[in-house]
């Protein structure tokens, strides 16, 4: 047991210097400072601006920025949808795979363009190599860069700067952060055993004489951006549990760190933009504590294993259902919390088979959306919570609440509220409809309280743009494809629009100088209060479904019936 917790601890400790460094680097990139990649990337960016008709000095307003996000994402979605349906006549389809049904294609396109990568299909048996690399792999860069750009624009607005230009931020995200890291990371993964080939699947005769079909493909480059960009859509159906996506504990460590580094680093990027490192460390510390506690809850549950099975085995053994030997309970629990926290959605073990504490923590993570949170947007959500805390606590010190010297007024509260409301609407309402017709709509594979978790998880994953699934759910139906689309779109674009408008209105406020009467937001006290408010808001909204899902399931084990 202690070895397990030791490796978890060590992994997340590596994180601290890593994200500190990356956060500083990203700040330099988006502040336009010199970086070591300038000699290579500046000409490339110039070309992109020239070909794309991007005037990089034009700052956008919040609404212009949002419109650019929506338009570009729409175009990308259409392009990818076309590749899906034309799969058969496009090259690199060694197994002659047919195009998916229209609703599955629509769900997949929306799911990937929203950086969710919720998959209602199995990679090997659905998409050709060309579709995987030129459609899905392409969206992995752009959707992630979109999130990052929005996050940066939000940080700019919050710190009183102009929002910048979406296309410039999109370009910089790709050329300065995602692409260089992906090239390096992808090569390391190939070295560690992840295939990168255009050859068709290999059929072999096993030692015992059976025919084994070994799926492969251009996986390595896809795998790394999948992790780094919080995309999470696996090349293979079983995602990072597949030995070709994640062959050993070294690749597992790299992929775990890749998954968490950008969202965590953005807190430091903010700190540099705001010129307040102290607050950066405090916020980092707060989220880190959430992260650690949730990992501990999930890990202990997996370590203790299934009491019913332990009865049969005659001793306490970890729950290894849906887990790989090379990762064990510790790395799987760590991954599960990281992937649901960062809205990556890749899995290296099956979440449906997690013990109730694991189910609870993963769901809770996606409800909060800020234990690191999605690419760019996660940090923005963290600040939305901060703004709400500022509003309530600011009143309590007898001043009109202000954040970073900018007053939080009706407009800001309305916009923050929209973000707060999206989740209950996009999760609870479709869950309730689906659960009202369990026979016809839901396709629940694990009955009982776990069935509630399955359905709620699916919509939460969609609305939080996470993409992981309680995969047992029979979710390939038209109902699931289309209803999840609504949650996907609502969970992505409503908050993005609100965030950008919020950033815009904060940017244009006259900053109020700080006095002793100003509520400082970079204190342990305020950070603690914020943590309490995040917990209360998250818990209050979803307490009933958590109580009827994982909590009831846990009590079921405790009482044995």
């Amino acid at each position: 047991m202690w070895q397990g917790f030791f490796q978890i601890t060590l992994t997340i400790l590596i994180l601290v210097p890593l994200v500190h460094f990356l956060g500083r680097y990203m700040a330099r990139v988006f502040l336009g400072d010199k970086t070591f990649l300038d000699p290579i990337m500046v000409p490339l960016e110039r070309t992109i601006y020239l070909l794309g008709d991007v005037r990089y000095k034009d700052d956008m307003t919040g609404w212009q920025y949002a419109r650019s996000v929506l338009l570009s994402n729409l175009v990308m979605g259409i392009l990818v949808y076309l590749i899906f349906v034309l799969q058969l006549i496009l090259p690199l389809n060694p197994t002659s795979l047919n195009p998916p049904s229209w609703d599955l294609a629509l769900h997949t396109a929306i799911s990937f363009v929203t950086n969710t990568n919720q998959q209602h299909y199995s990679g090997e048996t659905t998409f050709s190599y060309f579709t995987q690399i030129a459609a899905l792999g392409f969206l992995m860069f752009t959707s992630s860069a979109t999130g990052l750009a929005v996050g940066i624009a939000f940080i700019r607005g919050l710190t009183g700067k102009l929002l910048g230009n979406f296309y410039v931020d999109l370009t910089l995200s790709i050329t300065r952060i995602l692409l260089p890291l992906s090239i390096v990371g992808g090569l390391i993964l190939i070295f560690l055993g992840v295939p990168e080939t255009l050859a068709s699947p290999e059929t072999v005769t096993t030692l015992e004489g059976a025919k084994q079909v070994i799926a492969r493909g251009p996986v390595a480059h896809f795998e790394f951006i999948k992790q780094l960009g919080e995309n999470g859509g696996g090349f293979f159906g079983i995602n990072s549990a597949h030995p070709f996506e994640n062959p050993n504990s070294a690749s597992n460590l790299i992929e775990t760190l890749a998954m968490v580094c950008i969202p965590a680093a953005l807190i430091f990027t903010y700190a540099i933009f705001a010129n307040n490192l102290k607050q950066g460390w405090l916020l980092f510390g707060m989220v880190f504590i959430f992260y650690v506690v949730l990992i501990a809850i999930a890990a202990v549950g997996e370590f203790q294993g299934n009491p019913l099975v332990n009865n049969i085995l005659g001793e306490q053994q970890p729950n290894l259902e849906g887990k790989e030997v090379r990762f064990g309970w510790a790395q799987t629990a760590l991954w599960a919390i990281t992937t649901t926290g960062t809205m990556c959605g890749a899995v290296n073990g099956m979440h449906d088979s997690l013990m109730p504490p694991g189910g609870f923590s993963t769901l809770f993570n996606m409800f909060l959306q800020m234990v690191w949170g999605g690419q760019g947007t996660g940090t923005a959500y963290l600040f939305v919570y901060l703004i709400l805390s500022v509003f309530v606590t600011g009143l309590m010190v007898g001043r009109t609440p202000e954040f970073l010297g900018r007053k939080v007024e009706k407009r800001e509260i309305v916009l923050a509220s929209v973000i707060l409301l999206v989740h209950p609407i996009a999760v609870l309402i479709p869950s309730a409809i689906t659960l009202a017709f369990p026979e016809t709509l839901a396709g629940i594979s694990n009955p009982g309280f776990h069935g509630i978790s399955q359905v709620v998880y699916e919509y939460t994953s969609a609305a939080a743009n996470n993409g992981s699934g309680f995969e047992g759910l029979g979710d390939g139906t038209m109902w699931w494809n289309l209803s999840a689309c609504i949650s996907l779109l609502a969970g992505r674009y409503l908050p993005i629009i609100a965030l950008l408008l919020l950033a815009d209105s904060m940017a244009h406020k006259q900053p109020v100088p700080e006095t002793t009467g100003t509520l400082r937001t970079d204190t342990v006290l305020f950070t603690g209060v914020t943590a309490g408010i995040i917990l209360i808001l998250g818990a209050l909204t979803f307490f009933p479904v958590l109580a009827l899902g994982p909590i009831a399931e846990a009590f079921q084990f405790a009482t044995g019936h």
């Binding site: 009706k410 309305v414 409301l421 017709f437």
Partner: protein, 89 residues
């Protein structure tokens, strides 16, 4: 104008008068008419509730549940109005 003539042709005179009465009433006293229309809407929803719930409830309860659902929806819209136009409250 043609459309209205068509109405005249195919629908009984009473219907047209009924619609006009409703319109006039709406202008004068909106609330009762809104309630009336809500109940009309419920004539569509109640059977759906009845069908969905299966054998567990009778027709009357289905109708009441339909009303309750509409009322909840109405309250939700009302709260949205408050969120976006708080000055009026």
């Amino acid at each position: 104008m043609k459309r209205i003539d068509l109405f005249d042709e195919f629908l009984p005179r009473d219907f047209k008068e009924g619609v006009e009465l409703l319109k006039a009433q709406w202008r004068r006293r909106p609330l009762p008419i809104q309630l009336f229309l809500l109940m009309c809407l419920n004539l569509i929803i109640a059977p759906a509730v009845y069908a969905a719930a299966g054998t567990e409830i009778d027709r009357r309860s289905a109708w009441a549940l339909g009303m309750l659902g509409l009322l909840t929806l109405g309250l939700s819209i009302y709260v949205f109005v408050v969120i976006f136009q708080p000055e009026h409250f």
